[in-house]
Amino acid sequence: MNDFIQLDFPSLLLGTLAALSCGLLGNFLLLRGQALMGDTISHVVLPGIVGGFLLAGSVAALPMMLGALFASLFSVSLIELIKRAGRIEAGAAMGAVFTTMFALGVVLLEQSGARGVHLDVEHALYGNLESALWLEAESFQDLLSFSKLFSLPEDIWVLFFITLLVILFIVVFYKPLMITSFDAAHADSLGISSKWMGLGLVFMTALSAVAAFSAVGSILVIAMFICPPATARMLTDKLSTQLWISGFIAVLSGISGYFLAAFGPFWFGGQDSVSAAGMIALMAGFLQVLAMLFAPRYGVLSRLFFKNRFHNQ
């Protein structure tokens, strides 16, 4: 049990928080047809993180985070510029920018690698969830002790506050987020600026992508921006319900994915665990497949089933 609270619990928490913050924001990206914004941002933060590291000279969280934020905002502006100036469609503009920024990150990384520091691309892609430790903890009772909780890894605290911030953002801006996503022209005519709301959403996306990124890697971030909202989308026609479901799905994939990765291989006689970030993302994808097939109203199989029954009557 000690092992669990010291080794597994912090990773579990980290993965679940990352899943939750990205999964909630993803709903609005999905509804705006910007589902791939998460993908874009989780690639473009790489040069920002490496740049922040190179400037600060150490693996400190703050400069890397600032660098990543800067890189995301820079990229989003660049995408906007390319779209406007060249009348290029959004997908292509995003593709051009995120691949370039990622390339820049990779090149910078090799530079820093030459200086003998461990920051590598694999880490950036699938994170290092397993390295989160809470050695100060001795038992589950420590979860109730503030002084012990403060000794949780910094990453977890950062992500925790960002998740709170995301929830706050959604609660406060629920109305403008909804109206600008539904009918931007109408929102603008009311004086609710769809442009600023969109920027705010991108900023929050960047913030949670960055916070999650260093812990869980880009793959989990991308998956969480898309899969839980898409799953919820299959299950409901009400926005508030969709938000609840996506949050639930995110947490569920976080927990089940982590357990499968950490313990699953041993059940099958393996000796090592597999990538937890990868497994969480895979679980999210799996849940989405289930929803796409079996969702009561919009699932492919359910619809087939009902159609047949209808025909037989």
């Binding site: 060249g86 292509a92 593709g95 051009a96 390339a103 990868g278 993302a281 994808g285």
Partner: protein, 408 residues
């Protein structure tokens, strides 16, 4: 530094050894083919499909490695890995299509789902392999970032030949693909099988992605299919020119990037190629004469001034005051207005002339509405500068006649 340059030039001119030269030629062929195909993909508005396809290759690569290690004892045979990659990429592409067609989710969500789920599966398998084949899997993660360092002679040949074949198919199907992107209804009416053309395009895209995996890696191969076409878009409006330009940009950027990485060996090939491509793109974005940003901004500024001057003068001709501060400023600069806002003699004359011009333009708009609608300079420049002289005379005669009729 000069030594570096000399080395670079040597590589660029194919004098840096047989292997390096082969890699360069392969990269250029690949870049060219990807650029050309990318144009059609861009015009079909499906650029990010390559994102899904490329990420979807990973589980195939790893599975192929496991199978190949089991059956041949050599998991690293490039052809086997590429076949695995192609196999799972096809599955990924099919999955995107399936989601778009049968569920309520849109294409962006479908792409995101497929790329993240397949890639996650790949990562999980990769970590599994790492624990089973301690060390034997080295090089598999090269597929994520690409590397030409460990490229064998026959691998480079494989890449060059396949890229060449893809290019050939593109040339032979050029007309049909152009039609597909330009006018899909017409293509259908002509009896082309649009669905199978779309599938061919997807297949070609898949081919370049898979071929590119080893050299530039699965993230950056996306760039090869997107950046050259987007850069080419700034230079021309015609599909055939765009394909030529994109092919050229793709080949040039890959050639140069690969040469650079053969000299700066510690830097990854893919990264250098993409950064080179992006530099070409940036130049296109800024300075291209037709659609470039600078030209665009300049034209917009000129346009704005013209409109303000014209509307200001028209207001003067109707004896209305000019309120708009920018209009005032422009009129003052041209000495049509005095500093106190009063209209000068020149101003009155110009206003008269402008009013006559506007009347003619309006008459033209009445008489030839469709032509007028198509005309960029309608009511922006003096009419004599835009349409033929005899037509202007005809219009003014008509106007005289109507006036006479009205008076009677």
């Amino acid at each position: 530094m000069s030594e570096f340059l000399a080395e670079l030039i040597k590589a660029l001119t194919l004098q840096a050894g047989y292997n390096t030269s082969l890699v360069l030629v392969g990269a250029a062929l690949l870049g060219g083919a990807a650029g050309g195909i990318g144009v059609f993909v861009l015009l079909r508005k499906r650029s990010l499909v390559s994102d899904a396809i490329s990420h979807a290759t990973l589980p195939g690569v790893v599975l192929a490695f496991m199978l190949a290690s089991y059956f041949f004892d050599d998991g690293r045979a490039l052809w086997a890995l590429l076949i695995g990659a192609a196999f799972s990429a096809v599955l990924g592409a099919l999955a995107v299509e399936w989601i778009v067609r049968y569920t309520r989710l849109k294409e962006d969500a479908a792409i995101g789902t497929v790329l993240s789920t397949f890639f996650a599966l790949g990562i999980v398998l990769l970590t599994l392999v790492q624990s089973v084949y301690q060390g034997g899997q080295a090089g598999l993660s090269d597929f994520i970032l690409g590397s030409t360092a460990g490229l064998l002679y026959q691998d480079a040949l494989l890449i060059a030949v396949s890229a060449f074949v893809v290019g050939l198919v593109l040339i032979f199907k050029f007309k049909e693909l152009t039609l597909l992107c330009f006018d899909i209804t017409f293509a259908k009416a002509q009896g082309y099988n649009v669905a199978s053309l779309d599938r061919l395009l997807l297949f070609l895209l898949l081919a370049v992605v898979v071929i590119g995996l080893k050299t530039v890696g699965l993230v950056l191969v996306i760039a090869l299919t997107i950046i050259p076409p987007v850069a080419a878009r700034f230079w021309t409006e015609r599909v055939s020119h765009m394909v030529l330009i994109a092919t050229f940009i793709g080949a040039l950027g890959s050639w140069f990037g690969a040469a650079l990485s053969s000299v700066a060996t510690d830097l990854p090939t893919g990264g250098l190629i993409v950064l080179t491509l992006f530099s070409i793109f940036l130049i296109s974005l800024l300075v291209a004469p037709k659609r470039g940003a600078l030209a665009h901004a300049l034209r917009h500024k000129l346009f704005q001034r013209r409109v303000h001057e014209r509307q200001g003068l028209l207001a003067i001709s109707r004896a209305e005051p000019v309120f708009d501060p920018l209009t005032q400023k422009i009129l003052r600069k041209k000495r049509f207005l005095r500093a106190d806002g009063a209209v000068t003699e020149e101003g009155h004359q110009a206003a008269q002339k402008m009013a006559r011009d506007q009347v003619l333009w309006n008459a033209y708009h009445q008489a030839y509405p469709i032509e007028a609608l198509a005309l960029e300079d309608w009511s922006l420049r003096p009419i004599e500068e835009v349409i033929p002289k005899d037509l202007v005379e005809e219009l003014s005669e008509e106007l005289m006649l109507t006036k006479v009729r009205l008076v009677q």
